[in-house]
């Protein structure tokens, strides 16, 4: 549940999601669910010349199972908070 909660806190931030097919999509995080499926708004593909496949897509749903990385804004990372949450999770809630 840690990462689910963590991503929920990032809603509204600008993130880049890199997929397991090398496609990287940048957009505003709209929502996330228990499977870490992600919905992005105002999306654009990072290398549009190489990947014009989503030129007419501005909002998209990304299946959690195909996400390789999520690149976060530095201000979206609170190390202290993550440390505490990780310890709490390790203790079992």
């Amino acid at each position: 549940m840690l990462f689910f909660s963590y991503f929920k806190d990032l809603v509204g931030r600008e993130v880049t999601v890199e997929l397991k097919n090398d496609l990287a999509i940048r957009g505003t995080l709209h929502s996330v669910d228990q499977y870490l499926n992600i919905k992005l708004e105002n999306t654009r593909v990072v290398d549009q010349d190489k990947y014009p496949h989503m030129l007419s897509v501005r909002n998209c749903f990304i299946r959690g199972s195909v996400v390789r990385y999520v690149q976060l804004p530095p201000e979206g990372v609170d190390i202290e908070l993550l440390h505490d949450a990780t310890r709490r999770e390790a203790r079992g809630g």
């Binding site: 097919n21 496609l23 996330v32 228990q34 499926n37 496949h53 030129l55 007419s56 749903f61």
Partner: protein, 98 residues
């Protein structure tokens, strides 16, 4: 799970699906479930190549198993109308490697 990224808002809209094997299928979303299995009506595949423009293959009514889905995009009809598919050239997308 309310407020999650469900596909409710896309029902009866034209969507663009990218599958794990790199195909791009466009159609009208008619149904879906928790596993992201989807039902697409009036669907067609857009085949990208570097040799010629984008080819469109008519598929009709399709069910795509969720396992095989990477991205479901809401197709902006205005943007799509201004897209000249016959001039678009690109390599097909790579398959997903888990």
């Amino acid at each position: 799970m309310s407020g999650g990224p469900g596909l409710e808002s896309l029902v009866d809209q034209t969507i663009s699906v990218i599958t794990n094997d790199g195909r791009n299928i466009v159609g009208v979303l008619k149904g879906f479930d928790q596993a992201t299995n989807i039902i697409l009506d009036e669907s067609h595949e857009r085949v990208y190549s570097t040799k010629e423009g984008v080819q469109q293959l008519v598929l009709g009514l399709y069910i795509i198993r969720g396992d095989n889905i990477s991205v479901v995009g809401e197709l902006d009809e205005d943007l799509d109308a201004h897209l000249d598919l016959s001039k678009l050239r690109a390599h097909p997308l790579k398959p997903v490697i888990h």
